[in-house]
Symmetry: C2
Subunit: 262 residues, 2 copies
């Protein structure tokens, strides 16, 4: 069943790691409210800015490869990235879609724990680990902020485990749409026509399904007038209550707040 190599090689790692350096000022950063820079004073922000470079990756570009030396840590400022892991036979699991404010670059034994590919054009701040480590010592605030981010990600990961382990295809799609809508709102964007920058194949690789099943589930929800499809990259939620009901009611994430560890 799952022996087949994923269709169009959605997740195959291409070697097009083209990084475009870019000027940038933290003052105007849209992502600032949700990321590790959040708690910093202007003077501290300047110190952080001094050790980072702001860069761009075009859609389709893979800028982190699982297993490569984990030299850098990334902080997304715009665009959407898929983070994924591959099995040796090509099966792919996307562990998350990252957006402005999310950090990237977890390492295990000095090498990246996953690959990351831009789905849309992406911008990020890039830090070299040794330099960032030095700054951590002087500005423990950053570390605290990152701990909060990591905890939030951990809780999202646990929700995803529930989804992957115990939900039906229909429930997974409903949960996915609600989560995306919610994340958009939290970033100050409209939550209703939900923006889906990724392909059906990506959604499938995220939800532990196949392209065909994702498509069929969308069609089913459309037929029931719970959603309407706006081209390939948009979904309008017509009946939010129904969608929440279908998703399985554990959507406490809808009320998710940013918690610190203690």
């Amino acid at each position: 069943m799952r022996e087949r190599v994923q269709d169009s090689g959605n997740c195959k790692v291409a070697a097009n790691r083209r990084l475009h350096p870019d000027s940038h000022t933290c003052d105007l950063c849209e992502a600032r409210a949700f990321n590790m820079c959040n708690a910093l004073e202007p003077e501290e922000l300047a110190r952080l800015a001094a050790i980072m470079s702001h860069q761009t990756v075009e859609a389709g570009g893979t800028f982190i490869e699982e297993g490569a030396a984990a030299d850098d840590l990334f902080n997304l400022t715009s665009g959407t990235v898929k983070v994924f892991k591959l099995l040796s036979d090509g099966r792919c699991q996307i562990t998350g879609f990252m957006m402005a404010g999310d950090f990237l670059g977890l390492s295990r034994g000095g090498t990246y724990a996953y690959s990351a590919t831009a789905i849309t054009p992406v911008t990020f701040c890039r830090f070299q680990r040794p330099q960032l480590r030095g700054l951590f010592n002087e500005l423990p605030k950053i570390e605290r902020q990152m701990l909060g981010l990591a905890m939030n990600e951990l809780m999202a990961a646990q929700d995803q485990m529930v989804l992957l382990g115990r939900k039906t295809a229909r429930e997974r799609i409903a949960s996915f749409l609600l989560t995306l809508s919610d994340r958009a709102v939290r970033r100050g964007r409209p939550g209703n026509p939900v923006d889906l920058p990724m392909t059906r194949g990506d959604i499938a690789d995220y939800l532990g399904l196949t392209t065909e099943t994702v498509s069929r589930s969308f069609t089913q929800l459309k037929t029931e007038r719970v959603i309407a499809l706006k081209g390939n990259h948009g979904v309008e939620i017509l009946d939010l209550d129904a969608l929440v009901e279908i998703a399985g009611i554990d959507e406490r994430s809808t009320a998710m707040a940013f918690d610190t560890i203690a």
Copy 2:
């Protein structure tokens, strides 16, 4: 398919939250090497000890309930705990088995994000959040250590997503056995007869399968002489290479090291 309420109510939350206070000295703590106390000097450890209470929960006791006020943070010192989330119809997903050194008590909006039940008798250190928060300000080392622990857990969660989203039943069981063996070794215990304190139902709820499928997979691996069953709570690995091969080769976790964030 998944509509059925889980068999024996493995994961139903019982109200037997019996906490036995217990005297304890950090000097002799077995868990110290892997948990947040690791980096502390004796003097600092004493300050941490001052704000904690050491307690015991008997097997079967539920000491964290999803949705309840998240007043405390826990630090396991011995025994095994299952951490799980329930869907409204009773479907259960165990998001992790926690052992000595692991921390418990993630919260979202002031309430616990999951439930936790002791599988064996368990001991832990318990901290009240406000007090711990105060100590964080004075001893940022603790925060750093926790960030490392959280990152490690996040990577483990990502591995589990790969397992739940893309692996076959057989691969899940093989991966599970290897992971458990590995964790035992890292805690200075024998890695080979693998100790399985949990029931088949718990394993099923962790791997996104049913009791029956878990049992069948064990039987299959036994028939192939890859493992031998030692009663219900032990498995001897007879052919490690075969098991690694079956697990899907992404078991970099075997070589997992403790990484700090930067």
